[in-house]
């Protein structure tokens, strides 16, 4: 266990360095580089900009600049927003809860529905339910999230008037029920793709578990089918799903960005698009790096949980 932990953490550190390198490279790809904001100020001469570049250390070799940027990243100094001079990390953390709320609710729906559909599909392989679930999952994976969002708004907000068309709460209300009411639409939209993915993986994992020898042993002992499936097969089939939760983080985060746009949800995705249209590069880069770090740690956490839950990994 200790050795597995160590290897896994070292791998993550290597990835962390690579992720930061890519972030740094993209930052320098930006038109005008980190100096773009000063070039826009009237009365700035070329000499002024050169002086600022020297002050900011931008005339030094790239490896040194990278190291400075990376160490500032580590201590939490991610620069300041061009728009309101707020620290980038503060801006991001102000928008984080809304996104997390959306992601966690969508993930919850995906896990519950996906596991159920996957298990039913595996247990009744090639049944009508299984075929429909397979086709349904393939179509769900192909529907553009934003369009599905528009369809949900059209049906449930414009036509039926059941759900609010956007934002996180009604101004002046803000009770718990009001929050939930606003959450239903975007959470369902974001969950659609995830349900499809989870049900496919769960089906494959369950089929794999059912074909194992210990299932035959359990059946031979005369245990009821339900007990064999739930206690023996499902428990083992769920283990790889922990890793899936980590692997699916980028999709979930990307989906959240699109969903937030359609539902005017005040989260990280909205912030990202707003900052992009204002050319507020520090925030854009901060969000890009932050999302990659979130994914990196999410994956690490998922693997560690998997190791804790699975004695086969724990003992090696």
């Amino acid at each position: 266990m200790a050795r597995y932990l160590l290897v896994r953490i070292l791998q993550s550190l290597v990835l962390l360095v690579l992720v930061s390198l890519i972030g740094f490279a993209v930052l320098h790809l930006a038109p005008g580089g980190p100096l773009a904001q000063f070039a826009l100020i009237p009365g700035m001469s070329q000499a002024d900009i050169a002086r600022i570049a020297a002050q900011m250390g931008l005339d030094r070799p790239l490896p040194i600049q990278y190291w400075e940027w990376f160490s500032r990243l580590l201590i939490g100094d991610w620069g300041h927003s061009y728009r309101d001079s707020q620290p980038v990390l503060a801006v991001i953390s102000a928008h984080l809860p809304a996104t997390l709320e959306l992601m966690i609710s969508a993930l919850f729906i995906a896990v519950v529905l996906g596991v159920w559909i996957g298990v039913m599909g595996a247990v009744r392989r090639y049944s009508v339910f299984d075929s429909l679930a397979t086709i349904g999952a393939m179509i769900a994976l192909s529907i553009p999230t934003f369009w599905f969002g528009l369809v949900v708004i059209y049906l449930f907000s414009v036509k039926l008037g059941w759900l609010p068309a956007g934002s996180r709460f009604t101004i002046g209300d803000g009770s718990f029920l009001d929050y939930v009411h606003h959450l239903i639409g975007p959470a369902l939209v974001l969950a659609l793709v995830e349900v499809a993915i989870w049900s496919r993986y769960m089906r494959a994992s369950m089929l794999d578990a059912i074909s194992q020898d210990y299932i035959r042993t359990a059946q031979a002992k005369g245990l009821p089918r339900r007990i064999v499936l739930l206690r023996h097969a499902l428990r083992n089939a769920l283990l790889p799903m922990i890793t899936l939760a980590g692997l699916e983080l980028p999709t979930l985060l990307g989906g959240a960005l699109v969903t937030e746009t359609v539902f005017t949800w005040p989260g990280m995705g909205r912030l990202f698009l707003d900052s992009l249209s204002y050319r507020d590069y520090p925030v854009v880069m901060g969000l890009l790096t932050f999302s990659a770090l979130l994914v990196l740690f999410g994956n690490l956490l998922a693997d560690l949980c998997c190791a804790l839950a699975d004695p086969r990994i724990r003992l090696t």
Binding site: V26, I135, V158, A204, A292
Partner: protein, 304 residues
């Protein structure tokens, strides 16, 4: 067999050979397995019709996709000869859908060609050399995959001049990693096989072994991954065009038609419904075909 090998050759060879295969062999060859995959056949037919419609269709429709007719704005479907209705400027939606589809499909297909080639190149090199080179390349792939694709794509889109070529290029730049991963693992396995050793004994160069011997045997998974990449690329184009960073008006793409439709959702829902259905149909079809190819070529991969 000649040395050059491109995507599609395998299926075509088999189709020719199978023309006179006895009935008993049914289901044993990739082409026949593919033909018995109902969803894949549906997907192929839909793609064929979509391509035909978007290439030929605009000439058959009596409206120009850019012709503005203010008197007939927001005409609902089937009114005034407009099958799918008109938009806020009175432009015929059917004509716009078809020309948009031409662009969306072309972008998706070209992005696939670029990203599949690049992904294959990286994958072959990483898989063949393994060791430090392979590990470095694959960790780089892992690192890029940490970034949610849409975030990366939007940042790149904000940095470029949004013309069709550049948009195709940035979509390709964010879609090659899966192919690289699949190819690398395939090549790494094939590298251990005896025929590789034999080729080395015969004095074949590393480049020859990589791109002739190994790549030829990994072609199945590459075709499957490439097909699924078309689906992804069409979807990605739709996403960034919807968000305003992709194909720019007045040029129509399925994605930017939806961007436009958002504000008229209550009054003219058909503006949102048809482009979305078109995207879903195209993407679903490519996913079905990819799934059918995976079964037919028996190229099992860890993609759901």
């Amino acid at each position: 067999m000649s040395a050059t090998l491109r995507a599609g050759d395998v299926a075509m060879d088999d189709a020719v050979v199978l023309a006179d295969t006895p009935e008993s062999a049914r289901g044993s060859r990739p082409w026949q397995r593919f033909r018995h995959h109902r969803l894949a056949m549906f997907g192929s037919a839909a793609i064929f019709i979509l391509v035909l419609a978007t290439v030929v269709g605009p000439w058959l429709i009596p409206f120009d996709e850019l012709h503005i007719d203010i008197r007939n704005r927001f005409a609902p479907p089937l009114v005034g000869g407009h099958i799918f209705g008109t938009d806020q400027l009175g432009r015929d939606l059917a004509a716009r859908l078809l020309t948009a589809g031409r662009l969306s499909l072309a972008v998706g297909f070209s992005a696939m060609l670029i990203s599949a080639s690049f992904g294959t190149l990286i994958g072959v090199v990483a898989g063949y050399y393994g060791g430090l080179v392979g590990a470095a390349l694959m960790r780089f792939v892992d690192a890029i995959l940490c970034f949610p694709t849409i975030f990366l794509l939007l940042v790149l889109a904000a940095f470029i001049v949004p013309n069709v070529a550049m948009i195709t290029l940035i979509i390709a730049a964010t879609a090659w990693m899966e192919v690289a991963r699949i190819v690398a693992s395939q090549i790494a396995t094939l590298r251990e096989r005896d025929f590789t050793l034999a080729a080395e004994m015969l004095g074949a160069s590393g480049t020859y072994i990589m791109f002739n011997e190994l790549l030829r045997n990994a072609i199945g998974p590459i075709i499957v991954a490439a097909t699924l990449t078309v689906a992804r690329a069409i979807l990605l184009e739709a996403y960034i065009s919807f968000l305003g960073y992709g194909i720019q008006p007045p040029m129509a793409s399925w994605g930017n038609m939806l961007n436009n439709a958002q504000q008229y959702l209550g009054s003219a829902p058909w503006l949102a419904i048809f482009p979305g259905l078109a995207i879903t149909l195209a993407v679903t079809s490519f996913n079905f075909v990819g799934d059918g190819l995976r079964d037919a070529l028996d190229a099992r991969m860890d993609i759901g």
